[in-house]
């Protein structure tokens, strides 16, 4: 009888120990998911979009041509559609990482894929085409998320969740990086060139007479350049954080069946910490 109790107690102790070890490392997964969510959400703080770029361009054109109208005319539909594609990608990634964080803490996820699915199904994307690979990634990720919200054994399914999501996540992260880091950031280069032409014309036309005006124009020009550069840096830092998230998620995927192994904690914490540093850098630049 005594033997039986000792055996039972040992068993309880061992289970407790294992569950504790498991908790520690799931906590690491939770931390990584948490910092990734915060970092991805920074997208909403970026004060620049394709639509904003289009509006700025119309304003710059009106200034160049000295056009005064009762209301500014600006055709930006296609730029708004480019933003809507980016938004869809953003929501799906934010939803995934929030879900991952909740699952690792055994909490319910309240992710709803309705908005994502309706956006994907169509017209909202307008004539802006997204590659088949990306559409497949959306569909696969959204199915994974749906299962995660309904599965009773969510926590046990964490490894499966990560496994199913890794490939579409990597595709979407790549696409997101391309849109923000190459396309959106690339638009700013054109803005800078237009600015250069505006001030150069002013100079070549001898439009400014006094030294004060000339000094003021030069100062205004460089200040506007600085502002463009700041925006470029904000976008760069954001993209760097997406890079860290992609690498961290790949590590999670590679170790999905050993989520309780201690070494994973050390590796993943490195990515969490890098993402946190980039969040702080982003906030400094964006203030």
């Amino acid at each position: 009888m005594k033997k039986y109790f000792i055996g039972k107690r040992s068993l309880i102790f061992l289970s407790y120990l294992f569950s504790f070890v498991g908790c520690v490392n799931l906590k690491t997964v939770g931390e990584f998911a948490g910092s990734s969510t915060v970092s991805i959400k920074n997208f909403e703080k970026i004060e620049y979009s394709f639509y904003q770029h289009c509006l700025d361009r119309c304003r710059d054109e009106a200034i160049r041509k000295y056009e005064i109208k009762r209301a500014e005319e600006c055709a930006c539909t296609l730029y708004q559609e480019a933003d809507s594609v980016t938004q869809v990608i953003y929501y799906s990634m934010e939803g995934y990482f929030e879900g991952l964080g909740n699952l690792s803490q055994n909490e319910l996820t309240d992710y709803s894929s309705d908005a994502l699915m309706s956006a994907l199904s169509s017209k909202e994307l307008g004539p802006v085409r997204i590659e088949e690979q990306t559409v497949a990634a959306f569909s696969s990720l959204s199915n994974t998320l749906l299962r995660a919200t309904t599965d009773f054994y969510r926590r046990k399914k964490l490894a499966a969740y990560i496994e199913e999501a890794n490939e579409p996540m990597q595709v979407l992260l790549d696409k997101f990086k391309l849109i923000v880091g190459t396309n959106l950031k690339g638009e700013l280069r054109f803005k800078r060139e237009r600015l250069y032409a505006y001030y150069m014309d002013m100079k070549m036309n001898n439009a400014l007479l006094s030294d004060y005006e000339k000094g003021k124009a030069t100062s205004d020009y460089y200040q506007a350049c600085d502002e463009i550069q700041r925006k470029e840096m904000v976008l760069e830092v954001f993209v760097k954080s997406l890079d860290e998230i992609a690498q961290g998620h790949q590590i999670l995927y590679d170790n999905r069946n050993k989520l309780s192994v201690k070494t994973l904690k050390g590796i993943l914490q490195g990515y969490s910490s890098n993402v946190k540093d980039l969040i702080s850098e982003f906030n400094k630049l964006n203030n």
Partner: protein, 133 residues
Amino acid sequence: MVNLNSDQAKQLSDNFYFLGRAIGDFRYYNWDRLTLDEKKKLSDIQNSVLRFGEDILAYSTTLIMDEVVDSLEKINTITTEINDTIKTLNNIQKGLNVAAAVLILGVAIMNRDTKGIGNSIKEVYETWKVPHS
């Protein structure tokens, strides 16, 4: 007729950026030799060319072309040449013609006019290859 992939769209946008810059530089280098009308025309063309580059980034993969790799290669080559040597171009009329040809190429690309794109690439190339005088 194929859709451009993201890298190709970026490459094309880069070309319009550099062509827009080259047209602007040509305008400033020859400022005192250009009439008011020519300056205005070049300024308008430069703005349109920059717009093409911006629009290409926003629409990214919606653009189409025939023989994409070959067409892009030709646009790349001509952009590099124009960009490198526009400073030494003394022939004002040639500069204006090249700028107009680049504008037509941009319109063809944005209109997804695949036949027009092929013809415009040829036109830019031939206009640029006219011997300097």
